[in-house]
């Protein structure tokens, strides 16, 4: 009994210390991380659909074909909409913004958050050539966009079919969500 008590106390103390240190570090860093994340999202918006400002339409989060639609923003210059979607990739959830113009065609995609395997699925978000080439395939796509394997036009990333399919479904869902706005 005494032994169990001793083990519990030691484990508890070590967990408490680690949790305390983590809390402290979080306190020091969360504002900066938040700010960096906001800037990153702003850059992603500008990359997929150029506009001076974006007006969040405040739509209720919904799910289309297993893709969650987080938010839809209208470009203030009337060029179209920017949709933020989250879907599951090969390793975890992937968050992506998709630009959609008034003819319901994709103007670009940008992945803002993911945890895909480096060198395979992570290439989808990579700033290197392989990622740029992959993402540029979606420019001009409509909501019937599909991988070559499924009879569409999109070349999947080598070794990363699940991620590629996720991005493709995400783009299709984003366009459908804008269409549903009417």
């Amino acid at each position: 009994m005494n032994k169990i008590l001793k083990l519990t106390v030691i484990l508890f103390l070590i967990c408490a210390i680690v949790a305390g240190v983590l809390g402290l570090i979080n306190e020091v860093t969360w504002r900066r991380i938040d700010q960096i994340q906001t800037e990153k999202t702003a850059r992603a918006y500008a990359a997929v659909l150029e506009s001076e400002d974006y007006e969040d339409l405040g739509v209720e989060p919904s799910t289309i074909n297993k893709v969650s639609i987080n938010s839809i923003a209208r470009a203030s210059n009337g060029a179209g909409y920017v949709v933020e979607v989250t879907f599951s990739g090969a390793q975890g959830s992937v968050t992506m913004v998709v630009g959609v113009d008034n003819d319901y065609r994709c103007t670009g995609v940008s992945i803002t958050e993911h945890s895909e395997t480096s060198g395979l699925g992570a290439n989808a978000a990579s700033p290197a050539e392989v990622g740029v080439n992959f993402r540029s395939q979606f420019v001009g796509a409509d909501d019937s966009v599909a991988l070559k394997k499924a009879g569409g036009e999109i070349d999947a990333l080598a070794g990363a079919t699940i991620t590629s399919r996720g991005v493709t479904n995400g783009v299709a869902a984003a366009i459908q969500a804008v269409k549903a706005l009417g």
């Binding site: 030691i10 484990l11 680690v18 991380i33 480096s118 060198g119 050539e129």
Partner: protein, 233 residues
């Protein structure tokens, strides 16, 4: 403290990947470009060193029955701290290394060294063990990256080196690398996990061959020395 011996063990005779055969999952997954190899290697080196020091510092108060639970808490704690600090203060590095950091929590090199070394040794020895085992891991990653990238895409230093505008190092992972031959002629299977298995297998075989050879040589020397002693008698 025997730093020289630890150095040799970490890099060659007790290399984490090719001799202890631990931490192989991440090794196969990420060794596709030189940038990934260096990034992952350095991340492991830093976190391994921190964890080794922390574990050996409290080794006398860790009860044997719950040591693994404590190691896991310490490792996850350090990984999270490094991750948060990188995100807040070096966002560019965090963006390029961010994908490796969560992988480190489950990298068995760290818990393996805590279990096999730092819970029994002094803080100083554990620090050097972390550095040298980390270096050994980094070296294996670099060898594998160079081999796979070369055969798979005909390229050297992808992500890390940019030659389009004079030679320079790119630390954000955007460099195109040095193209040695047209990527279309590359055996792209080397970029897939399959290529990782093959490369790792070959590397372990080569390493074991030389280790065996040197062990035999040592044995022969010892035998010859014993023989000479006998004769002298």
């Amino acid at each position: 403290m025997n730093i020289k011996k630890q150095f040799k063990e970490g890099l060659i005779t007790n290399n984490p990947v090719t001799v202890q055969l631990i931490g192989m999952c991440a090794t196969m997954a990420i060794t596709t470009t030189l940038f990934n190899g260096v990034g992952m290697g350095l991340s492991v080196l830093i976190i391994l060193t921190c964890c080794n020091v922390a574990v050996s510092a409290i080794r006398k108060i860790i009860p044997n029955d719950i040591r693994l639970a404590i190691f896991v808490v310490i490792i996850a704690g350090f990984v999270t701290i490094v991750d948060l600090l990188l995100q807040a203060f070096i966002p560019a590095l965090s963006e390029s290394l961010g994908v490796f950091i969560p992988l480190i929590v489950v990298n068995c090199i760290i818990i393996g060294r805590a279990e096999a070394f730092s819970q029994k040794n002094t803080v100083g020895a554990s620090f050097f063990d972390g550095v040298f085992q980390g270096l050994g891991y980094t070296c294996v990653l670099i060898v594998m990256c160079v081999f796979r990238e070369q055969i798979g895409s005909g390229r050297f230093g992808g992500g890390l080196i940019d030659v389009s505008n004079g030679f320079r190092f790119t630390l954000d992972g955007t460099g195109a690398g040095i193209q040695l031959f047209n990527a279309d002629y590359g055996a792209s299977i080397m970029n897939l996990p399959f290529g990782g298995f093959i490369t790792l297998g070959l590397l372990i075989a080569v390493m074991q061959h030389f280790l065996k050879k040197s062990a035999k040589k040592k044995e022969a020397e010892a035998a010859a020395a014993a023989e000479a002693e006998k004769e002298a008698d």
